[in-house]
């Protein structure tokens, strides 16, 4: 069968994407606590790309009446309520075997979300939380490849290590499609809003993101900056090529760049309170 068709079919019947065991066990501990609130659960959920995507899927499929679909964790939490969120946590599946690259990708996603949040606020984007969310889940396609197509994934990882190519190039060669596209398909399949699915799809080609070019550009630059910083692991060790169209959207000079670095350093250190446990 055609690989692209195979992937699309799999996405249709995708039952469950695995989460990192430490996050799930932390959340499980939290729900045992009588006084825990939905809001504090949300604060942990929004640190995980898989749980965040699942939460958004749930709220968007059970609540079709919204003219605009739900794109942020905080709105999803209010609508779903404590009990449903608790169920999501208690029933979430985890990776059978956790690899260091899984944690690396998780940190990469968190770092990108942090940088994107900073830039969204600085560029006065209406809903900065939405940009962070899109950035958090921009590599969800990689999780799909990793958990649903382990053989292809192994081949991709081998290509990256042996030939020193970008993971994206290896994906194109092995699957005929790259993770951005796969993530976009999944987001569509799960009824996530276009403000998330389009930037996910085009985070390597932000100029193609149409009306969401600004969000896609921020994610694109966040990918570059976070990899440059060496925070987490995005699948290969290289800083990816820059889209100059994206840079034009959100560019910053030396003075602002310095401030951004300072803010980013602080945000990334804050995340370590969370990631250092694992």
């Amino acid at each position: 069968m055609d690989k692209i068709q195979e992937i699309k079919d799999r996405l249709k019947n995708l039952k469950s994407l695995p989460t990192l065991p430490p996050i799930v066990s932390r959340l499980n501990e939290m729900v045992e606590d009588e006084d825990v609130t939905a809001v504090s659960l949300g604060k942990v959920i929004e640190k995980d790309q898989v749980l965040t995507s699942k939460l958004l899927r749930m709220v968007n499929s059970s609540f079709f009446g919204f003219p605009q679909r739900i794109s942020t964790v905080s709105n999803a939490i209010v609508l779903l309520g404590f009990n449903v969120i608790k169920t999501l946590i208690v029933t979430s599946s985890i990776f059978d075997v956790m690899q260091s690259s899984d944690i690396g990708l998780w940190e990469h996603s968190l770092g990108c979300a942090a940088f994107s949040g900073i830039m969204a606020a600085r560029r006065n984007i209406k809903n900065p939380e939405e940009v962070s969310t899109a950035s958090l889940i921009h590599d969800i396609g990689k999780v799909v490849i990793r958990s649903e197509f382990p053989e292809y994934y192994a081949k991709i990882v081998e290509d990256v290590e042996r030939r020193g190519v970008f993971m994206r190039e290896a994906e194109e060669e092995v699957l005929g499609v790259q993770h951005g596209e796969i993530g976009g398909w999944l987001a569509d399949e799960w009824n996530l809003p276009e403000r998330l699915s389009i930037p996910i799809r085009f985070h390597h080609y932000p100029e193609k993101a149409g009306e969401f070019v600004e969000i896609a550009s921020i994610i694109h630059i966040s990918d570059i900056v976070i990899r440059a910083w060496g925070y987490g692991f995005g699948g290969d060790k290289w800083v990816p090529p820059l889209s100059h169209a994206a840079w034009e959207q959100i560019k910053f000079g030396k003075a602002e760049g310095r401030e951004i670095m300072e803010e980013l350093d602080l945000r990334l250190s804050e995340l370590k309170n969370f990631t250092m446990e694992f």
């Binding site: 039952k15 469950s16 939905a38 499929s61 009446g65 919204f66 905080s74 404590f82 169920t87």
Partner: protein, 312 residues
């Protein structure tokens, strides 16, 4: 002809056991993996759920409670598959708020009959509002009268959606209905999280709701409800209306008219011991308060403090 999710490893295991039910036109969705089952139930709810008691890690209890407390799914009939000894020793139905039970070694035909009964019963629940699934006027009245008679102190809060009509007129009633369902969800979620079993939410009808919570918690609950409502209502507005900050329409004479955007107001009547003798008195005070709170622009709440003056 219903879609029935089966999360019961010890029941309907073979095609021949499933046949009588499927032959009746029902579609059985049999889940091998509990985790996947729950996700798929929440994402794409069936019309009936058959779940086995005593699943690993108490997942059965978690799922049943979550479904029953979810507004949209509270109507979903749940049949609990139990061991024979459970039937003999009794089941704590406050911890298992299910609609029907069936023994795991029952004949497929019996299971079919139980399913049919549950489906038919779910179609004739009386008082609940069909749009939100919340208890209606009879239950509201009983609940509040109960507080008065048992001298339970509660803040009874009357919720109104302000400028709901312009939204309905402009976007159509189906979007209006969704605003009502969103409001119901917000109220239920905040009340059940903060007041737990001491809270109550009812739907009077249209854009009117009533909820009650312990008096000391009332203020923070009102604040959270209003905040959440304001954050979500913008998702229902067309971007141009949201940006402009008001609705524009034309009256019968063709003159342009402006209406403020949709917001929420809550009138809070603290029912302290001995203050009221009858539900009618509570709603009378509420009606006066409502006028005050509606006059405030945007989302707001107003707590009746007169009782303090009376005491002093």
């Amino acid at each position: 002809m219903a879609r029935i999710s089966v999360v019961a490893p010890q029941i309907l295991r073979t095609p021949s056991e499933r046949l009588p039910i499927e032959a009746f036109g029902h579609k059985l969705i049999v889940h091998g993996n509990v985790q996947n089952a729950i996700e798929s139930i929440l994402n794409d709810p069936p019309e009936c759920l058959l779940i086995q008691k005593g699943l690993q890690d108490g997942i059965d209890k978690t799922v049943i409670t979550a479904l029953k407390e979810d507004l949209k799914l509270s109507f979903l009939p749940i049949i609990l598959a139990v061991q024979e000894k459970d039937i003999m020793s009794g089941i704590d139905f406050s911890r298992y708020p299910v609609d029907e039970i069936v023994c795991i070694n029952a004949h497929p035909e019996e299971i079919l009959t139980r399913i049919e009964l549950s489906l038919s019963r779910s179609h004739r629940v009386a008082d609940n509002n069909p749009l939100t699934g919340l208890p209606g006027n009879t239950s509201i009245l009983k609940t509040i009268q109960g507080y008065i008679e048992q001298e339970t102190e509660r803040a009874v809060c009357y919720v109104d959606i302000d400028n709901f009509k312009p939204l309905n007129d402009k976007y159509g009633f189906s979007r209006g209905d969704e605003v009502i369902r969103m409001t119901a969800r917000v109220i239920v979620n905040v009340v059940s999280e903060e007041a737990k079993s001491e809270g109550f939410v009812g739907h009077v009808g249209g854009d009117d709701f009533v909820f009650s919570v312990p008096v000391p918690a009332a203020e923070s609950i009102c604040k959270r409800i209003l905040e959440s409502f304001d954050a979500l209502i913008t998702l229902f507005l067309n971007p141009d209306d949201a940006e402009r900050g008001y609705f524009e329409s034309v009256d019968r004479q063709g003159r342009p008219q402006r209406f403020p955007l949709t917001s929420l107001s809550i009138a809070v009547v603290p029912c302290t011991k001995g203050r009221f003798n009858h539900y009618g008195e509570v709603s009378l005070v509420a009606a006066q308060l409502k006028k005050k709170v509606k006059a405030i622009e945007g989302s707001s709440y107003f707590i009746d403090r007169r009782e303090d003056a009376e005491k002093a």
